[in-house]
Structures are given as C-alpha cells and as structure tokens.
Point group: C2
Chain length 134, copies 2
C-alpha cells in the first residue's frame, strides 16, 4: 500500500512537471521568440511593371524555404495619403519565422541566395525590419 | 419529364454559379483586399524603459477594435546587424485588416483615438506602411 502511494505521488509529480514544461515551451514559441521579418523594396525602374513582376515572382519562391511559417507578398495599399505613410516602395515581403534560428536558415538558404542573385539588379534600395513579439 | 429535366438543369446551374460566387468571394478576401498595416515608433526618450512600457501598453489596447483581425506588438530582434537592417525604432505594431474599410474604421475608432491622445507625447517619429497582398 505504501509503495502504491509512492507510485501515485511520483506519477503526479511527472504529470505536473510534464505539464509545466509543455506550457513553458508553448509560451516561449508563441511570444518570446517568434520573428517577423519585413522587407521593403524600391525598384531602380519604379515605373516598370515588368521589373515589378520579376521581383514579385522571385519573392514568391521564398515560400519554399522550410523555416518560413507564413509569407505575405504585397504592394502599397491605396490608403489615405498622410505624412507618416511611406508608400514610395514597390514591393513588400513579410515573413514569419518560429525563432531567430529559422531566420538564419532562411538567410543562408540556396533558394534565398538564388533570389538575391537573380533579382538584386532590379532594386535600388532595401529596408529590413526584424521584430520579435513582446 | 421535360419539366423535371429543366428543374435538374436549373438546379445544376444554381450549384455551379453558387460555387463560383463562393470561390470568387473567398479569393477576393484572401488575396486582393487584405490589408497589412505596419507602424514603427521611435521614442523621444529611447533609453526610457518606462516610456517603452507605456507605449506597448497603449498599443495592446488596439486589439479591442473589432476590425483588427490579427495584431503583433513587438520590439527590434537581435538579428545580425547589416546596413539594410533598420533597428533604431523602439516598437512595432503589425495589424491585419480584412480590407481598406476595416483600416478606416480603425483609424476613426475611439480606442485608436484614445491611444493617440494618451501616447503620442511619447514618440518622436512614426513610419507607417500599408500593404495589400498580391
């Protein structure tokens, strides 16, 4: 009977600590580490629809990289023009990674390297924002 | 029998066009109209943790606005420093709206207005990017 109580006690401890570990890992992934990588591109030929299409096509290949959790490829919206709104860029690439390591894998990935090699002649300026959720 | 065939024909048409309408509406919502609103804030006192906390607290209230589909409040990540990476901002607000109208509702919403009233003394500069998925 005593041994059975000990077994129950040990099983309970395992359940409690197992639960806490899962919870901690889940909070970690959800809030502390998720990385948002937002890149804005300005074209050398801002009026060239062909260059824009080539750039957008190149950006879409980035979804193949396994650490990219979500991808949004876009262009400036037709929201109200205000002094604070920056709308002179040509294309936007918004990527979500699980963590910093996922972003590093992406930077070094052959698909990303090919994109830079094939498309960097199209752009004049790039601005990158890397954000972590708080 | 002839009338029954006609009924079946009309029902089939309804099914086909109903399906197409649903598909078109779904594509529309998913790709043509979704609006990404990304705002970066630079503080007047960039070294003040208190001011940053106040700003982050204010930004979190924006989730109450009914047209905000997703919200991410963040700070600069500790990714590799590169010339193209802009990491001098203090806070980032990334919002997803279903469409342009959702963003307009947000701009005029009392919760947004209260945030601007209560927090705008904290920041020196704001840069806004409004993006539509393509």
């Amino acid at each position: 009977m005593k041994q059975q109580s000990r077994k129950i006690f040990i099983s309970s401890l395992a359940l409690i600590f197992g639960g806490l570990a899962t919870k901690a890992s889940s909070i970690h992934t959800m809030t502390n580490e998720q990385l948002i990588h937002h890149v804005f591109f300005w074209l050398k030929n801002p009026d060239s629809k062909e260059d824009l299409e080539k750039l957008l096509e190149g950006l879409r290949t980035l979804s193949k990289i396994e650490t990219v959790r979500k991808i949004h490829i876009g262009v400036p919206a037709t929201t109200e023009k205000r002094d604070v709104v920056e709308s002179s860029y040509a294309a936007s690439e918004l990527l979500f990674f699980e963590d910093l390591a996922g972003q590093k894998t992406y930077q070094d990935h052959p698909v990303h390297q090919a994109f830079v090699k094939n498309c960097s002649h199209l752009w004049e300026k790039v601005v990158v924002y890397d954000v972590v959720d708080v």
